[in-house]
């Protein structure tokens, strides 16, 4: 139980993030990115390729501290991070990869998680023996098993077939429904953002700034076609306004 008055929300206030290239010139990647997520809220970040989404997630997770601004994570928060590439320990089995990162997981829970993610039968395989999609799912299993308070996902469902991506989105929604997890999800897919998020944060091309924030108050289950179409139109309008 976090003490009273402890940080509960995720507050992101990045004034500026730039990289220095090998030739010495500086490259602005993020500019004035300010947003907050309530406990248990799911935020989706959408933006063009190369605009700085991964950079933003790394700052949020505390992996990159070289920026101007401040990020406040939920106090005593456990972190789960599904990296853009799986980042598994090649010398440990799929199940051990999860056990090592989430030592409190019991065997029954692990088995249930593996079968929910379509990994049954792969527990003893080494990452080198898994397909890209399977490895991605092990990385998801690892993040879920860590029982995170803050979950960060970098395009977790790309290059999976549509049916499987749908099923995994369902698993993510179920995880968030079971236990409130503040979630920040990067996606290219507007449909996915609309299906999963409570709040969509739309980024501009690099240097990324926030083009607009859309709140979705309708619960995840009840988002019909009408709402989806309306949100899509809003997003297209924001993008067009930025382009003009």
């Amino acid at each position: 139980m976090p003490p009273a008055g402890a940080q509960r929300t995720l507050d992101v206030a990045i004034q500026r993030k730039s990289f220095r290239s090998a030739s010495g010139e500086s490259l602005d990647v993020l500019k004035d990115i300010n947003f907050s997520l309530e406990p248990g809220e799911v935020g989706a970040i959408a933006g063009p390729s190369g605009c700085g989404k991964t950079t933003l997630l790394r700052i949020v997770a505390g992996l990159d501290t070289d920026f101007t601004g401040a990020v406040r994570r939920p106090a005593q928060g456990r972190l789960g991070y599904v990296f853009q590439e799986p980042r598994l320990l090649a010398w440990r089995s799929a199940a051990d990869n999860v056990r090592i990162a989430a030592p409190e997981t019991d065997e029954a829970g692990l088995e249930a998680l593996f079968s929910a993610l379509g990994l049954a039968g792969h527990a003893d395989h080494y990452p080198g023996e898994l397909s890209g999609g399977l490895a991605r799912r092990v990385s998801l299993a690892r993040a879920f098993a860590a029982r995170p308070d803050l979950l960060v996902l970098d395009e977790p469902f790309v290059s999976l077939d549509a049916a499987l991506a749908e099923r995994l989105r369902g698993e993510l929604a179920a995880l968030v429904a079971r236990r409130p997890v503040t979630t920040l999800l990067v996606t290219h897919d507007i449909e996915e953002a609309i299906a999963l998020a409570d709040r969509i944060i739309l980024l501009s091309p690099r240097p990324a700034r926030i083009l607009g924030e859309l709140r979705i108050d309708t619960p995840r289950g009840g988002r019909g076609l009408a709402l989806t179409n309306k949100l899509r139109a809003d997003i297209a309008q924001l993008n067009a306004a930025a382009g003009a």
Binding site: G80, Y81, L89, R92, I100, A101, E129
Partner: protein, 246 residues
């Protein structure tokens, strides 16, 4: 395997022919050396000296590898540690083995401690440099993963770092084992009352080439056995996760 045996047979044949021309004083026949090994084994002297040498090799090798791995890892991870320790390592690396041994005996007396310390110090810089290379090559992405999941230091060492350092450790062990046993022989020659080096030293004073070869070959056989029964199985175990048929 067949090729190896053939090659070994050619070596022995060449030895036999060489012995024929050089005469038994300079190069005794293979069979004479085999007989000498057998004689020394029967009265127990062989095992006494082999055992003494092997114990010195084991202790100084273990010390050098343990300290070398710890220091190498530290230097590979921390710039400050590297800057501080690097000059010492360079000096040690370039100090001739003989100088270290002689100084150790002068400063600490002709003791077992001095002998072990001298051998360890000879091997140490080499282990440090190899393991430092390994520490520098550690995958940063995996370190970030460990950081995100708040892995305890020991978990990181065991599951993230150690498997990546395995090949470097194996390389340092391989070169280390042969280096260490050669230096142990010199240490024994100069200041120990037993061991293969001591025996070879006294055989040298009598120009007893048969005994020199008997002890040298017996010890080479022991080291080969260790390489085949310990080092290689360890390497296979450490590489078991690599997919077969690349």
């Amino acid at each position: 395997m067949a090729l190896r045996l053939l090659s070994l047979a050619v070596l022995i044949a060449a030895w036999q022919i060489g012995a024929h021309f050089a005469g038994p004083r300079l190069l005794p026949e293979p069979l004479a050396v085999a007989r000498a090994i057998f004689e020394e084994a029967r009265d127990g002297a062989l095992f006494l000296h082999l055992g003494a040498t092997l114990a010195r090799v084991a202790v100084s090798f273990a010390l050098a590898m343990f300290a070398g791995a710890a220091l190498g890892l530290l230097m590979g991870r921390s710039r400050a540690a590297d800057a501080i320790a690097d000059p010492w390592i360079v000096v040690l690396l370039n100090l001739p083995a003989l100088v270290i041994i002689v100084l150790a005996y002068i400063w600490a007396g002709l003791t077992e401690t001095a002998a072990i310390a001298a051998v360890t110090l000879n091997k140490l810089p080499n282990a440090v440099v190899t393991l430092r290379e390994g520490a520098r090559a550690l995958d940063r992405n995996l370190d970030e993963m460990a950081q995100v999941y708040a892995m305890p230091r020991l978990t990181w060492l065991r599951h993230v770092a150690a498997p990546q350092l395995g090949p470097y450790f194996a390389a340092a062990s391989r070169s280390g084992l042969s280096l260490v046993w050669k230096i142990v022989l010199i240490v024994e020659l100069l200041g120990r009352p037993n061991g293969v080096g001591f025996e070879i030293g006294s055989a040298f004073q009598l120009f007893d080439v048969t005994r020199i070869l008997a002890y040298a070959l017996a010890f080479v056989a022991v080291m080969l056995a260790i390489e085949m029964l310990v080092v290689q199985p360890f390497e296979r175990h450490a590489a078991r996760w690599r997919p077969k048929n690349p």
